[in-house]
């Protein structure tokens, strides 16, 4: 699939690496030349991953990133409102099929959810995963206790 990611910070770079390794065609939009150092150098140099050096919330950047052929658009900068603006442009103006945005704030999450944008909350994901692990550990301990009886 053709995936556009706005922002090459922690989340954007990790997503780019993972999705690229899974065989997807990745274009990253990142204005800050220093921030792109988190991207896999080899893939960028070989052209397997494209980097567009522009302000990711603008239509010009999205067009240069090939948004006409994008299947997935992910806004992954560190700023909720900027992600929201970029995601709404991708969805409303360019009519991308699947639009996702990273959010930090709970209010932003329900807002973008209500607009039909898929939200990714790093903190919620991490704490959910942690809670799952705790549950599993408790289950395991309970099973072990049963076996011992």
């Amino acid at each position: 699939m053709n995936v556009i990611i706005v922002g090459a910070g922690d989340l954007g770079a990790a997503l780019a690496r993972k999705l690229s390794a899974a065989g997807h065609r990745i274009t990253v939009i990142e204005n800050n030349p220093q921030a792109v150092s988190g991207l896999p150098r080899g893939r960028v140099d070989s052209g397997a991953m494209t980097v567009v050096h522009r302000d990711g919330a603008t239509g010009a950047a999205m067009i240069e990133a090939g948004i006409a052929d994008a299947d997935v658009f992910i806004a992954a900068t560190g700023k909720d409102s900027l992600n929201g603006l970029a995601a709404q442009r991708a969805k409303t103006v360019f009519r991308v099929d699947r639009v996702m945005t990273a959010v930090k704030d709970e209010a932003a999450r329900s807002l973008y959810d209500s607009l039909g944008i898929i939200t990714i909350d790093k903190t919620a994901l991490a704490s959910d995963q942690l809670a799952d692990l705790m549950d599993k550990k408790e289950e395991q301990e309970a099973q072990e206790a049963q076996r011992e009886q």
Binding site: K79, D80, S81, L85, T92, V93, D105
Partner: protein, 221 residues
């Protein structure tokens, strides 16, 4: 009316002051403590420190009882988020946002902001009016910005001077609404109307062909 203004900068501060003078109750939100202090000194306790796009700050500013929110920061994304958060959480009746980047003006309208003020458009149209050499004035966007009302001044040495409307071909969809002559007379355009030097043409033009219309009407012999 109770109004929440987001951003107490070069747009928000004078706006707050003039709305207060008109008898409105206003509250200004700004993330910069210095600006808030300045506003409090000039206007009283009508400003607080807060992030434009934070629900908490909007709640503190009394967005739940406001008749409108006016987002005036120099960050378009924050203006949009503030309006949308106020709408979705407090069902605020009217959302007004400044779009600093003209391409965002259209997006803001598409996603339901009630009134969008495009800073660049305002400056451009004022400049055009102030500079007589610049003969295109965008008067008003029409029909979701797909069309616009424009005024174009015909140069004295233009190729269209002396021709009738029947003799010229305008871009598809363009409609000349009114012609104003240099001495201030108005002419209702019909097929036999002759275009004269320095006439001011008021036309309804599809936005994507306005440049073409301007080039055609101002082409020099």
């Amino acid at each position: 009316m109770y109004l929440v203004i987001v951003g107490g900068g070069k747009v928000g501060a004078p706006l707050a002051s003039s709305l207060i003078n008109e008898g409105h109750e206003v509250f200004v939100l700004d993330h910069d403590p210095d600006k808030v202090k300045e506003l409090q000194r000039e206007l009283g306790m009508v400003a607080t420190i807060g992030d434009a796009s934070s629900l908490r700050a909007l709640t503190d500013a009394g967005a739940s009882r406001a008749g409108a929110i006016i987002a005036t920061t120099d960050s378009d994304e924050d203006n949009l988020a503030a309006c949308q958060l106020a709408r979705s959480n407090f069902d605020i009746p009217r959302t007004i946002a400044v779009a600093n980047n003209p391409e965002n003006a259209q997006l803001f309208e598409m996603v339901g902001i009630d009134l969008v003020v495009s800073a660049t458009d305002l400056v451009l149209s004022n400049l055009a009016t102030a500079l007589p050499a610049h003969p295109l004035i965008r008067l008003m966007p029409v029909a979701d910005r797909t069309q616009e009302l424009v005024a174009i001044k015909l140069p004295a040495a233009g190729t269209v001077i002396g021709r009738t409307l029947a003799e010229i071909t305008l871009p598809y969809g363009t409609k000349i609404v009114l012609i104003v002559t240099t001495d201030g007379r108005t002419k209702s355009p019909d097929a036999d109307t002759v275009l004269e030097a320095e006439d001011e043409i008021v036309a309804l033009s599809p936005s994507n062909t306005t440049a073409e219309l301007w080039e055609f009407l101002t082409e020099l012999r």
